[in-house]
């Protein structure tokens, strides 16, 4: 947490140092900037007994489940985007096959409020959801509080549901760029990354590129994660594949569509992991294996933001 320290490490070292068996690990990124490479490195290092916290449990979670890393999942959406099912997740939940998966089910804003409460050290966060839902009956974490103020129009005080804080042992997010201290800039969909990082004991930021201090400091409002909240900076281009990094590469929709069939068949899923995760030493090998032609297909043209003027005292 030293601000001036150079926090740049390899993904292997960051995971080895910060992700331990039995940890609660938050992986965030709402469709955009999903930290897939970090998930794969956790698989390679054979972590066990993890509680994974992720709003949209999608392909990377299904892969971590299939690799046997995860015993508990906290999530608000367990599906392969709009492209289909997560085969391993469904086997685990529907048939405890090959083993049960403890599942804490929330809604999206319930998860957001859990991160907000965690980041802000609040004992709970209120939200106008869950009234009449069956979710509180299967999730004892969702409770009610009575407001200490009179209700609208002098009616009796309102009741409101609340959720508890989540404080992951480690949060891992992917971002476009950071400096060596960990000042991290994200644009496009920014999701809940800032809150997930602040809620965590330790935070790893995986970035498309490391940039000079001057680049970050030319636009301090773009720094969504300040250095004081970051423990490790990992440079890992294309580390969000098959999701996308705004301005860097597009989403691999074909892979999303293919995942339902791959994951429906445990043998195919195992073969996929062998080939693409266990069979690659690191994410650079995974990227190289996909090939230049493949990446050309996901490349994007340029659309630069108009600069703003921060001004300089004369």
């Amino acid at each position: 947490m030293e601000r001036t320290a150079d926090k740049v490490v390899s993904l292997r070292e960051a995971v080895a140092r910060s992700v331990h068996d039995g940890d609660t690990v938050s992986l965030e990124g709402f469709t955009h900037l999903i930290p897939t490479a970090a998930g794969h490195e956790i698989i390679r290092q054979g972590r066990r007994g993890l509680t994974v916290v992720r709003m949209t449990a999608d392909i990377v979670v299904d892969q971590m489940l299939a690799a046997g890393c995860v015993t508990r999942l906290v999530s608000s959406f367990v599906g392969n985007s709009s492209a289909g099912s997560l085969g391993e997740l469904r086997r685990r939940i529907e048939r405890a096959d090959p083993e049960p998966l403890a599942f804490e089910e929330y809604s999206h804003y319930g998860m957001v409020c859990r991160y907000l409460a965690g980041a802000q050290r609040l004992p709970f966060h209120p939200l106008r959801s869950y009234g009449g839902s069956d979710l509180p009956s299967v999730n004892p974490g969702i409770r009610k509080v009575t407001s200490p103020y009179p209700g609208p129009d002098g009616r009796e005080p309102e009741q409101i549901y609340v959720v508890p804080p989540v404080n992951p042992d480690v949060t891992i997010v992917h971002a476009q760029r950071a400096d060596r201290r960990g000042n991290t800039q994200i644009w496009g969909l920014t999701g809940v990354q800032t809150e997930a990082v602040y809620a965590a004991d330790r935070a790893i930021v995986v970035v498309e590129e490391l940039v000079a201090d001057e680049v970050i400091r030319s636009d301090p409002n773009r720094t969504l994660i300040p250095a004081h909240a970051v423990d490790a900076v990992v440079v890992c281009p294309r580390g969000a594949h098959p999701s996308f990094a705004q301005g860097y590469y597009d989403r691999d929709n074909a892979f999303y569509r293919s995942w339902s069939a791959i994951s429906a068949d445990r043998v195919r899923l195992r073969e996929w992991l062998e080939e693409w995760v266990y069979g690659t030493a690191d994410h650079a090998e995974y990227v190289a294996k996909l090939g230049e032609e493949f990446w050309a297909g996901l490349s994007v043209g340029e659309a630069l933001s108009e600069p703003v003027d921060y001004g300089r005292r004369r």
Binding site: S82, R128, E158, I160, E195, R251, N253
Partner: protein, 265 residues
């Protein structure tokens, strides 16, 4: 019923598909609305078509945080990069769910579901028991929040069967206002007001009302819809027949909104 059985629009062009009919019917219901919370697929098509027809000022807000998108290509997901480039605003999840949605800025929210009951309560969690379900579905996403906070909710269901239009939900993920009130919670909106299906349109005016059949699509009878519904579906007075898509609506939908037929399959 397949789209091919539907009447041709104004006698012109290719036959109207079920997706096209649903999109057109839903778009008409958006007349006068300002803000729509919509997922990708038919809701987006309906919103985009309404902008070109009955609701020129409509703004689509996406669950990913995009407000005022101007996409260069038809988006494939609610987080498609083409929604972000050139958008008017992109906000964080806390702002999107807290200030925009819970803050009461959404007129109409679009939702889908595996099951819906007569009050418009929705199940997107499980078929079977929650603890060991026959089918684990994706869950709420933001549906619980959309129902609790949008002024009204439109549901689009491609399939209309007694299992999906259920007498009793296997699980209530996303409750309407009646269930919320019984739980001591006052919701902002009135819950589901329109359900557009492959067979017709169900409607519900406000808190305490059941969904009733208000319109059948061309070639469908009220009795067919009642038979496909898992509860004793009442009709609201005389059941209308959906006006087929006009030639202008179809032209806009096919040539402007989804020329690549990404969703009009």
């Amino acid at each position: 019923m397949s789209g091919q059985e539907l009447t041709r629009a104004g006698g012109a062009g290719a036959p109207v598909t079920s997706s096209e009919l649903l999109s057109v019917v839903a778009s008409r219901e958006l007349a006068g609305r300002r803000t729509v919370f919509a997922g990708i697929g038919l809701p987006t098509l309906a919103a985009e078509l309404s902008r070109l027809t009955v609701a020129p000022a409509i703004e689509v807000v996406y669950e990913s945080g995009v407000c005022g998108a101007h996409p260069s290509h038809l988006p494939e997901t609610i987080a498609d990069a083409v929604l972000i480039t050139g958008a008017e605003a992109v906000v964080s999840m806390p702002t999107l769910f807290g200030s925009v949605l819970q803050g009461g800025h959404i007129d109409v929210g679009f939702l889908g579901a595996a099951q819906i009951d007569r009050w418009g309560n929705l199940n997107t969690s499980v078929i079977g028991d929650w603890d060991r379900p026959a089918v684990r579905l994706p869950g709420s996403g933001g549906a619980v929040e959309v129902m609790a906070n949008a002024r009204e909710v439109f549901v689009v269901m491609r399939r209309h069967t007694p299992r999906s239009f259920a007498g009793v939900l296997d699980f209530c993920t996303t409750p309407g206002p009646e269930r919320a009130l019984a739980d001591g919670i006052r919701p902002l909106g009135v819950g589901v007001t329109r359900v557009v299906t492959e067979l017709g349109v169900l409607a519900r005016e406000g808190v305490g009302d059941e969904l009733r059949l208000v319109a059948v699509h061309p070639g469908v009878t009220a009795e067919q819809v009642r038979a496909a519904t898992g509860w004793d579906l009442e009709t609201a007075g005389a059941v209308a027949t959906t006006a087929p898509p006009t030639a202008a609506e179809l032209l806009l939908l096919r040539d402007e909104v989804d020329p690549g037929r990404v969703y009009l399959r």
